[in-house]
């Protein structure tokens, strides 16, 4: 099966799962309303977006220099920095650090970059026990599923489905489908794990070059526990997360939490700048940062595609996407779903692997409208569509270009071009279509599965305009 057929199978499964679609509709409506409540003043929102965009865009332009400064500062602070070109390399490095510290169990905070490298799977295969400590991540770890959303990984499950999972994996705990009680149950289960784990693994939201600070945004306190309770902390993040100054962080943090979950601020905001010092009572003895490239530098050289890397992973584009709400995240079949996934994954994996995702977009623009760093998502998706069917452009970092070009489709567009660039031919065509409107087929393939077939008017507007005496020049 090719990527397009596989995608259609997943779409078909999603669209036939009514429970799943109800879960997404309800969750997305809620999170959209909460975001809107955080931005009552559109002028202020636009000013904040401008500010956030500028910070991110400047950071990307200066990225090589900032990463160097970040490494120097972190090293001086006692945090060890590792560079990984690929997902495989990142996993090898992390496994090496764990092995070197004789760490056999890992408690993890939420990290999409670790999803990108499939770190859990890699470590488990090598005999290391990994437990996800974010509630949503814990739920999907039990269910053996990938995240369906980058901020709310278990959003596809409702509380009854979560209750069922808990009953299955913790039969000794009395059944409940009360959200607060379920959360309490998870909290108790995870508590002991924090205390006993040899190492904690986390992501990073912003890495500050000036001070060598790793910022981590979270709500459950699991991020703080994962990064402070075990004797070893390993952070992993994409190279694009670096920003220059500490003062760059507040606007990004504000627009991140408001855009993501509609919170003015998250319950926890962690700033990690060094391992435990001799006079300190807690904190890890060693802290490592793994900086992952995984195709990001390749994207960076293209002036237009570079915008993709501004992303601060808030998920607002996903929450507002009218296609995502119908399908949920799993249908995309990639780590990042929704608009940002459609823009990023074909760049990361190649158009021949993920280019078909670009078809799952109506160009409605809802994503671009809410993006806190003003990534022109529809424009990027349009560019990827063009690259997927055409190899002619000479400079591009994309792989798999032209792989979705179908001769039949290309021929149709050539005919369309001929018709629409020759006015006489066009008028002849509309004349025939209007005069023969009685012969318009009642079935028009996929269109008439959900709608009746449109019928041409009895006269084209070209004709009506002439009849009504409108001048033509």
């Amino acid at each position: 099966m090719n990527q397009t057929q596989e995608f259609h199978h997943r779409i078909d499964d999603a669209l036939h799962n009514d429970q799943l679609r109800r879960n997404f509709r309800s969750a997305m409506s809620g999170v959209m309303a909460r975001r809107a409540d955080q931005f009552p003043d559109d002028d202020q929102l636009q000013a904040l977006r401008e500010q956030a965009q500028t910070v991110r865009a400047n950071s990307l332009v200066r990225q090589p220099e900032l990463l160097e400064r970040l490494e120097q500062k972190l090293t001086a602070n006692g945090i060890q920095v590792h560079w990984a070109e690929s997902a495989e390399q990142a996993n090898t490095i992390i496994h090496g650090i764990l092995k070197g510290a004789d760490a056999r169990s890992v408690v993890k905070g939420k990290s999409m970059v670790s999803e990108e490298t499939e770190l859990n799977h890699y470590l488990e295969q090598r005999g290391i026990e990994v437990i996800e400590s974010d509630l949503g991540e814990y739920i999907i770890q039990l269910a053996k599923e990938p995240p369906s959303h980058i901020v709310m990984p278990a959003v596809h499950k409702n509380r009854f489905e979560v209750a069922e999972l808990f009953r299955k994996f913790h039969p000794d705990i009395p059944y409940t489908d009360d959200v607060d009680e379920l959360t309490q149950t998870a909290r108790e289960i995870l508590r002991t794990r924090f205390a006993n784990a040899d190492a904690g693994v986390s992501g990073v939201n912003f890495a500050v070059a000036e001070t060598g600070t790793l910022c981590l945004v979270e709500n459950e306190g699991n991020g703080r526990l994962s990064t402070t309770a075990p004797r070893l902390h390993i952070a992993i993040t994409g190279v694009e997360k670096v920003v220059e100054k500490l003062s760059d962080v507040p606007p990004l943090l504000e627009i991140l939490t408001k855009s993501a979950t509609g919170q003015p601020i998250t319950t926890y905001f962690n700033m990690i700048s060094r391992p435990r010092q001799p006079d300190e009572l807690d904190g890890p003895e060693a802290v490592h940062l793994v900086l992952l490239d995984n195709g990001r530098s390749r994207i960076r050289v293209d002036e237009e595609l570079l915008d993709t890397l501004r992303c601060i992973r808030c998920g607002a584009c996903i929450n507002h996407c009218p296609v995502y709400v119908q399908l949920g995240g799993h249908a995309y079949g990639t780590v990042y779903p929704g608009p940002i996934g459609i823009a990023l994954e074909p760049q990361r994996l190649g158009l021949d692997k993920a280019g078909t995702l670009t078809s799952a977009c109506t160009m409605c623009g809802a994503c671009g409208e809410v993006c806190p760093v003003k990534i022109p998502l529809p424009k990027l998706i349009n560019r990827l569509r063009a690259e997927a069917v055409n190899k002619r452009r000479t400079t591009t970092p994309l792989t798999g270009r032209g792989s979705l070009r179908k001769p039949s489709e290309a021929t149709i567009w050539k005919l369309w071009q001929q018709l629409n660039s020759h006015p006489r031919l066009y008028r002849l065509f509309t004349l025939a279509a209007t005069r023969l409107r009685g012969l318009t087929p009642g079935k028009l393939g996929a269109w008439t599965r959900y709608r009746s077939a449109p019928k041409p008017g009895s006269r084209s507007l070209h004709e009506l305009a002439r009849q009504e005496g409108f001048s033509h020049e």
Partner: protein
């Protein structure tokens, strides 16, 4: 900008063939305000279908064929947010670096969506001659976001004192048309138009009015297929009908 003496009217290929009465109504509304309407007979399509499908070379050839139609320095009025958006916002990208880039930028700079033109330039005053009715507005995504003119259709309809405008749930959500999306991702589009028609039907409106015939073809076609739902109509036709 003061009202011009003359304007060009760009029909759009969809209106030309499928909804010519909507286009004619748009032209008549402008003419009634004392502005001459020129309809260049060599116009065809703005190029959007190919552009959105990734076939930029084909889109460029078709867009280029329109340039000769709109040479005079007068406004180009388009009865569609989506086609107006293509000309205004995507032609500059499409023609970038081409020999005729300046001409394309020139046309883009004087292109208006119809309701935008009626409100911003002509400042039309309407008096409602119809019987009381209840309608719902579906604003196309391109009119709303790309062109930023969602409030123009509202202000025009608000002038009609016997027309009650009802608001649908999730008003700003796409109807699922998306041009070739409706064919390439037919089942997703089907699910989306189902949600949209449910929301519109639930308002109890007698008619659904929009500034884009793409959405109307999708929504109206779905109502017809479902065998139940309000009528659908382009805003130009509705305005003309209520005021003459």
């Amino acid at each position: 900008m003061p009202a011009p003496e003359k304007v060009y009217f760009f029909a759009t290929c969809l209106i030309d063939l499928m909804y010519p009465r909507a286009g004619l109504a748009g032209m008549q509304l402008i003419k009634r305000a004392g502005v001459d309407v020129i309809f260049p007979q060599d116009q065809t399509c703005c190029g959007q279908p190919a552009f959105n499908s990734g076939y930029r070379e084909e889109a460029l050839a078709v867009a280029r064929a329109q340039l000769a139609c709109f040479k005079c320095d007068i406004p180009v009025v388009v009865p569609s947010g989506s086609c107006a958006g293509m000309i205004k916002h995507h032609w500059p990208e499409l023609f970038e670096g081409e020999a005729d880039e300046q001409q394309a930028l020139d046309v883009a700079g004087r292109t208006y969506e119809l309701t935008e033109f009626l409100v911003d330039v002509l400042d039309v005053r309407l008096s409602d001659l119809g019987t009381p009715t209840r309608i719902a507005i579906h604003t196309s995504c391109s009119a709303r976001r790309e062109m930023g003119v969602a409030d123009r259709i509202q202000s025009l309809l608000a002038q009609l004192d016997k027309v009650e405008v009802l608001t649908q749930d999730r008003e700003a959500e796409c109807c699922g048309f998306g041009g070739t999306f409706a064919v390439k991702q037919a089942d997703i589009a089907g699910a989306m138009v189902k949600d949209k028609t449910d929301a519109l039907r639930a308002t109890g409106a007698e008619r659904v009015i929009s500034q884009d015939c793409g959405c109307l073809m999708n929504i109206g076609g779905a109502f017809e297929h479902q065998g139940d739902g309000p009528a659908t109509q382009h805003v130009a036709e509705f305005l003309l009908e209520r005021t003459s």
